[in-house]
Amino acid sequence: MTWADALNSFRQRDRVFEFLIPEQPPALDLSHNIVLYMEGVSKSFDGFKAINDLNLYIEAGELRCIIGPNGAGKSTMMDIITGRTRPDTGQVWFGQQLNLLEMDEPQIAEAGIGRKFQKPTVFESLTVVQNLELAMAQDRRVWPLLCARLSGEQQDHIDEVLTIVNLGELRHDPAGKLSHGQKQWLEIGMLLMQKPSLLLVDEPVAGMTHQEMERTAELLTSLAGERSVVVVEHDMDFVRSIARTVTVLHQGSVLSEGKMEQVQNDPAVIEVYLGEG
């Protein structure tokens, strides 16, 4: 590059400087119809094996329920997928190309994995709309954020999500004022704004009224298909109402997997989990 070219490239302010453009990770490749692979994953904390040789495959567009008693390793599994915890051994792949163990939390989120926490964490001092605006799939570097304006298309997307999660009338209320169930929905709405390919939903109906629960079931079922949804839940009625495939975790590995009836009749499952109730 000559000096003149270099100077010119600095003057072209409609483009970002080349050295500032981050390396683009490969796009999500679903050619084998599997969105998430976890193979031989183990993780121990101070000698306690939270995850023990876990093998799990999630198909594209699937709605999967994961159940298991306390301490079965459900949350640790979610932490590993979203990059919060690194496993001691094993492989975790997102589609065919993306090695999740080499990525950090923002990269994983950017690649298309959205997570809803057990305890709803919304940004309480911001309004419902602002929460959604922040969660929207967008360029999250500092300068673009400073200059960002909502396009009509983005506004439409926000309105659409507001309708889906039924918060249209509360759009300008601070999120801190919402009821527990409404916060859960707002969080699901924030996940939807990210347009993720894989949704991880941790105990979505904890603390919900029956009516809210039904509405949440409807919502999650309607989301699967276009994207994959993994739901971790304790409430068996709820699982029964949405489940197509159920995975039972026990002591950090898969105990049983299959249709709800199959799993329910599995003697091993009855012993460790369903039998208790």
Binding site: L126, L134, V142, L145, Q194
Partner: protein, 362 residues
């Protein structure tokens, strides 16, 4: 979207800018045009005092930007103020020329006194005003960038961050106290004669500096307001309230913190550069950890996360300080401490919080 957040949601800010404009117009008139024996005359002493407090207000806005909106409790922000001040002080020292006590055209007095033969390399260029201005921005900015890069990347936050910012300003204070550093040791830089050829003793120069301070405060406010009302500002609040959640959404928390922190340090540096020609001295005492803590008190009393509240807090506390240190010199510090405790316990939003509650109630 931005423009509506920027102005319409900011009644307090419009008031603040309006009052600032009024002061910037009235004070020069009352000082220069009204005869000195009139009751309406605004003395040059008062002009300089108010000008100094306006630079404090800009510093308070800078601190509020990182503390109020981003949750970074920096207890070393006055260090950036002092660095900006030193950069300006170095320019003013070079402007003295051969009018110093020793009459050396090249070396400032303290260097002659130390028997130095030539100007240290880091004083080169400070005879040029534009270079000094550049350094006013670059020195605090680069320091904040390096410091922030290391701190935020390793996810230092909360109390630990406050402690290392405190250590930063303390270390700088000790370093600047040393004569060998070449910044005048504990006497600092003083005896300034003129700026850009205008004598610092002239009323008109004082007025220009005063108006420049008001202008810098207004622009600093607008720039900060632009940041906090942009989507970046929303992201800052999100990080303040739930940092790990913002990470899971995909925000690079460390980058956002780093740039806002750096911007804030630059604002503080500019405030320091305007402060020094008005008070006529800069010494290592400005790096004192106490200054940074006092700064946080101004912001808390004025009202966190409002920007104009921080500015109001700075003016209010400093005026009561100049009144109380004269009237009750022994109890001033106790009064300040009590004020801080009362505000944190009963007025989490500061005086702006009370005014807003009144406004909503009426």
């Amino acid at each position: 979207m931005i423009s509506s957040r920027f102005i319409h949601d900011d009644k307090g800010g419009v008031w603040f800018l309006g009052i600032l404009l009024l002061i910037a117009i009235l004070v020069p008139i009352l000082n220069l045009l009204v005869p000195a024996d009139s009751a309406f005359h605004f003395s040059t002493y008062s002009v300089t005092l108010l000008g100094k407090y306006l630079t404090y207000a800009l510093l308070a806005i800078a601190a509020d930007l990182v503390w109020g909106y981003l949750g970074i409790l920096s207890l070393g922000h006055a260090a950036f103020f002092a660095l900006g001040g030193y950069a300006m002080g170095m320019y003013l020292m070079r402007q003295i020329g051969d009018r110093g006590v020793y009459g050396n055209p090249e070396l400032p007095d303290f260097m002659v006194f130390l028997n130095w033969q030539e100007l240290p390399w880091f004083w080169y260029g400070f005879d040029m005003f534009w270079f000094a201005l550049l350094m006013v921005i670059l020195v605090p900015g680069v320091l904040a960038y390096i410091f922030g890069y290391l701190a935020f990347r390793s996810r230092v936050s909360g109390v630990y961050l406050s402690i290392i910012t405190q250590a930063l300003t303390y270390a700088l204070m000790l370093a600047f106290f040393r004569n060998e550093m070449g910044f005048g040791g504990n006497n600092g830089l003083t005896d300034f004669k003129d700026i850009l050829g205008f004598s610092l003793r002239e009323d008109s120069t004082r007025i220009v500096l005063f108006v420049a301070s008001a202008l810098a405060l207004a622009l600093g406010y607008l720039a900060s307001r632009y940041i906090v009302s942009s989507r970046l500002g929303l992201a800052c609040v999100a990080i303040r309230d739930a940092e790990s959640r913002s990470r899971f959404i995909g925000y690079r928390v460390e980058n956002i913190k780093l740039w806002v922190f750096t911007f804030s340090a630059v604002l503080a540096g500019i405030a320091g550069a305007l402060y020094v020609p008005q008070v006529g001295i800069i010494n290592p005492g400005e790096f004192s950890p106490l200054n940074s803590i006092e700064l946080i008190v101004w912001v808390a009393i004025g009202g966190r996360a409002t920007l104009y509240g921080a500015a109001a807090g700075a003016l209010l506390v400093n005026y009561s300080k100049s009144y109380l240190t004269a009237a009750l010199p022994e109890v001033w510090l106790f009064a300040l401490g009590a004020l801080f405790i009362l505000v944190t316990m009963y007025l989490p939003k500061g005086i702006i919080g009370i005014m807003r509650r009144r406004g909503a109630g009426a």
